[in-house]
């Protein structure tokens, strides 16, 4: 480190590393682009087979996506998807499959809503309070899976799936008049908490396309912190090392047990944020008709975005666009909106396969390149030897 040549070496190395990066980026983009194209072709074929014009359908979607009201709707959806995907990706980076985002965000949302109804602080205190409550509840719920994994060897896949079911039941038990729901809600069928206080409402931007949720700022912040933590901190290095090879990480001194618990709790805490945009910007209460399935969307988005903060931003936008514009299909033409899940599903399946292929191809290619460069070096050295 104190050797005199690092700056020179650094300068000399940079161009090479950038070249490699360019190629890597190209490889990384190839997979999702191909997957999206393939899924569009499959969906188009399905539409054509059912006697409808696929190009017309895609035009409807495209027009909606380029209109300003469509864009706002896409961004709002993408905010939620991004948070869910960040939660999933954080676990994935350590080879932890947090399938329990679903349960974590619902529980977190319920408790945040309840606190929002009970406490009415000034907004600059109230909003952080709700965020913290949600993250705490999400993290706590996820920690059960972490503890089970570390101390009892229970696979987190199994336990988080079970915890999802339990979370639903817990909500059913607690969300009754007299506990979390107000007692006097006799007139309505659906049971829900009271409305959260005014100060609990998150700020938003009014645009000509509609209301853009201010929560997008939180999503961006999560992305930045995620990226920084992963790539620039010791903790992030330990996390990536554990994800790449648990045995090597253990030998290197990573306390793998603590790492498992920490990362699943962080994942759960991020999951806790997923429900808040809806709660604090759209419907100011938590009820039985809360949107479900966001956790699973998050997993798909994280897979497509390759668990990197920037990648999941793009894939969240894509998924949000597909969902938002797909909803227009039945109203603006005789097209089934079911075509959207077909596209999304195909994308995820293709992309998982494609990433693995690209990964192997990239590794092999690099090995060959290194072999070739070394052989060239050796040949050059041999020639020098002969000349000498």
């Amino acid at each position: 480190m104190t050797s005199p040549n690092p700056p020179a070496a650094e300068a000399a190395k940079r161009p090479l590393s950038q070249r490699i990066d360019l190629e890597r980026i190209g490889l990384a983009l190839a997979a999702p682009v191909l997957a999206v194209l393939l899924s569009v072709i499959i969906a188009g074929t399905l539409l054509a087979v059912s006697g409808r014009d696929p190009f017309d359908a895609f035009t409807i979607m495209w027009n909606y996506g380029t209109a300003s009201d469509g864009q706002v709707a896409v961004l709002n959806k993408a905010t939620v998807y991004y948070l869910a995907a960040a939660a999933a990706a954080f676990g994935f980076r350590m080879n932890l499959f947090n399938i329990g985002i679903e349960g974590q965000y619902k529980l977190a949302m319920m408790f945040a809503a309840f606190v929002g109804t009970q406490i009415d602080l000034p907004a600059f205190l109230q909003i952080p309070l709700l965020l913290i409550v949600a993250m705490f509840v999400g993290g706590l719920w996820a920690s059960i899976a972490g503890l089970l994994k570390v101390y009892r060897g229970v696979s987190e896949v199994i336990s988080t799936i079970m915890l999802n079911a339990i979370a639903t039941a817990v909500i059913g038990v607690l969300l009754v008049p007299g506990i979390l729901a107000p007692k006097t809600s006799g007139t309505t069928n659906s049971i829900q908490t009271a409305k959260i206080s005014e100060s609990s409402h998150f700020f938003s931007f009014e645009t000509q396309g509609g209301t853009l949720w201010g929560f997008i700022v939180i999503a961006v912040l999560v992305g930045v912190v995620f990226q920084f933590t992963l790539n620039r901190t010791r903790f992030g290095f330990d996390l990536r090392a554990t994800g790449r090879s648990e045995s090597a990480a253990k030998a290197s001194g990573v306390n793998v047990k603590r790492m498992v618990i920490t990362s699943i709790v962080v994942s759960g805490a991020l999951a806790g944020l997923v429900g808040l945009p809806e709660l604090m910007q759209n419907t100011p209460y938590f009820g039985q008709n809360v949107q479900t399935g966001l956790g699973f969307v998050g997993i798909s988005v994280a897979l497509l975005g390759r668990n990197t903060p920037i990648g999941i931003a793009f894939s969240a936008l894509l998924f949000a666009f597909l969902d938002a514009s797909g909803a227009q299909l039945p109203t603006r033409g005789d097209y089934p909106s079911e075509i959207i899940p077909v596209i999304q599903g195909t994308i995820v399946i293709c992309v998982v396969v494609a990433y693995e292929l690209v990964r192997r191809f990239g590794l092999k290619r690099q090995q060959q390149k290194v072999g070739a460069e070394l052989a060239a070096q050796a040949a050059a050295a041999a020639q020098k030897e002969v000349a000498a």
Binding site: M1, P6, A248, V254, L374
Partner: protein
């Protein structure tokens, strides 16, 4: 540079074979029957029958990601012989055998079995042609009997009942394998398991047997027994292809020898006339450095003290199995303590216990006066333990991460890798560059993944990393395993130079010559206990081998005459092809690259 490979394979009589081998052949090589690899004439191999050769490989080329590949390999194996395939680790022997066994397809070249050209796409095809392979790592189900293991997957041959058992007995008697079909495999020792593997292959009708480094797991006495079996097989007309890099084993059992270097055949040799040193030089492609006498660097300052280490794990049946049994040892500054033992006798657990990766049931670990018994692995590393793991892919590297991230691994809390809680990628990169230069890691850059380096270069990177944090104690588990010979000499020299500077080293190795050559003291581990000790200056590999079977305890000292003989043999360049001297001539040993 000597010409590595003879010109194309015209079966011309080797008028002056040596000039094809090397330019600077030692003067006494004139009498050796080293022939160019492509002399397909039957005279090239001893005890050759007049019949067509059992195996004929012609121009086999396999391009492979990474560094080692097969390039234009020619080998002729006569029927009913033991044919040794020699070469350093990473020379391409295993790849070649995988091609012959149908596990990989050659890019170019032809395979002929009994004179008939064949193409294998799966091992099944090879088995159908009577080729069988005994892998280095046995593939047996412990909880089944020998008989069940042999029949498993071959049910159609002789059924699964009495007929199968009778056939096993018959084969066992025919080849003198001494196998009892009703025994449970888990009750068998390593040598017995190996014989089961051999019988398994014979049961499937193999007439050509490939043994991949069969002696790696055996102690010397078991090796002799194995060789008796091989002679028996040969007498019954079975062809044996024997992969090894141990010179005197090959010389004692083989009828013909083919040497592979950097992925290509460099020559055949007649074991009756060739010497170990000549073979070693053929393998290495360079003249061997001689062992140098050295002065002891051992001081009186105690660096590592391990007291009463005990680990007992309950096994599947709940019976407590003692893994480490009351182990106590001390290593002083400047001392290399070698641990000898057959693999699986607790070496791995001892290392992991000292590294803090396994919980202890009893005992203490003290480093330089500081008690580390309850410390986490990271604390121990920070306290000054460097670790060269046995399995570098599992424990030493992040294969898909770039080199500079691998340089951080294990030392993430230390400079230059981090400042406070934040990483310092620039510092780590610069220091990786320094390691690459200083430790001669052959790589085009520090951004390539660790997986793209050859084993030797990966190991050099690990050693450079561990040495960069001024360790007080270095745990080196099989530091030269799977490493090419040039890197091997460098690694030994690095360990020695660190030792001179006062490093304490715990050396675990299966290579007894490496142990004897490097260590200041040797302890023998057997079933989790340190049962014997020896002074490397007064012990032979054979006696060490005896102690490793648990047959000898206490202080072992060999007959001085035997020691002298062994040392003379070592001086002749036996076994460890490039012995333990510092290599001054490594420029000639790059890994083969395509």
């Amino acid at each position: 540079m000597p010409v590595r490979r003879p010109p194309p394979r015209a079966p011309e009589p080797p008028a002056d074979p040596l000039s094809l081998q090397r330019d600077e052949a030692p003067d006494d090589q004139q009498e050796i029957a080293i022939t160019p690899s492509d002399s397909a004439s039957p005279g090239g191999t001893p005890s050759a029958g007049t019949a067509t050769p059992a195996v004929e490989l012609r121009g086999i080329t396999k391009r492979f990601p990474g560094v080692v590949a097969n390039h234009d390999i020619d080998i002729t194996v006569q029927r009913g012989t033991v044919h040794a395939l020699m070469g350093e680790n990473g020379a391409g022997k295993s790849t070649l055998m995988k091609i012959l066994y149908g596990m990989q397809k050659p890019d170019e070249g032809t395979i002929a079995i009994d004179g008939e050209q064949v193409e294998f796409s799966t091992p099944g095809d090879a088995i159908a042609r009577g080729i069988g392979m005994v892998h280095q790592h046995f593939m047996l189900a412990d909880n089944l009997t020998v008989w069940e293991n042999i029949v498993l997957g071959g049910e159609k041959l002789y059924g699964i009942g009495a007929k199968a058992k009778a056939r096993i007995r018959e084969l066992s008697d025919q080849y003198g394998l001494d196998i009892r079909p009703d025994e449970l495999v888990e009750d068998l020792g390593v040598a017995d398991r190996q014989r089961v593997e051999i019988l398994k292959v014979l049961y499937r009708g193999a007439r050509i047997l490939i043994l991949d480094e069969p002696t790696a797991v055996l102690v010397p006495q078991e090796v002799d027994a194995l060789f008796d079996n091989l002679r028996e097989l040969k007498a019954e007309g079975v062809t044996v292809i024997f992969i090894s890099h141990k010179l005197h084993e090959v010389l004692s059992v083989a009828d013909a020898i083919s040497v592979i270097r950097r992925g290509t055949t460099v020559g055949d040799a007649d074991p009756r006339t060739v010497t170990a040193r000549q073979l070693a030089e053929l393998m290495v492609g360079a003249e061997l450095p001689s062992p140098e006498s050295r002065e002891s660097t051992v001081t009186d300052v105690e660096m590592l003290k391990v007291e009463g280490l005990r680990i007992a794990k309950p096994d599947a049946e709940g019976v407590e199995r003692v893994v480490l049994d009351d182990i106590s040892l001390r290593i002083r500054k400047g001392e290399i303590l070698g641990i000898a033992g057959v693999e699986g006798n607790g070496q791995a657990e001892l290392v992991e216990a000292i590294m803090g990766m396994l919980p202890l049931d009893a005992g203490t670990v003290t480093l330089d006066g500081a008690d580390l018994t309850g410390a986490l692995t990271r604390t121990r590393r920070e306290a000054g333990i460097g670790y060269i793991p046995e399995d570098r892919h599992r424990h030493g590297l992040l294969l898909e991460a770039p080199l500079w991230e691998n340089r951080i691994l294990g030392h993430v809390t230390e400079r230059p890798n981090s400042k406070g809680l934040l990483l310092d990628p620039a510092g780590a990169r610069a220091d990786t560059q320094r390691i690459v230069e200083q430790y001669d890691v052959r790589t085009p850059g520090i951004e390539v993944t660790a997986a793209s380096l050859s084993g030797g270069n990966q190991q050099k990177l690990i050693i450079g990393r561990e040495m960069s944090h001024d360790p007080k104690l270095l745990i080196a588990a099989h530091p030269t395993r799977g490493v090419d010979v040039g890197a091997q000499a460098q690694i030994w020299e690095q360990i020695r130079s660190a030792q001179r500077e006062g490093l304490a080293v715990l050396l675990i190795s299966a290579d007894l010559d490496e142990l004897i050559g490097l260590s200041d003291t040797i302890r023998v581990i057997y079933r989790g206990a340190l049962v014997a000790d020896a002074d490397p200056a007064t012990v032979t590999a054979e006696d060490l081998g005896t102690a490793m079977t648990g047959a000898a305890t206490g202080h072992i000292a060999s007959d001085p005459e035997a020691v002298a003989a062994a040392q003379a043999l070592a001086a002749e360049g036996t076994e460890a092809a490039s012995d333990r001297g510092p290599s001054t001539d490594t420029a000639d040993d790059e890994q083969a690259g395509e």
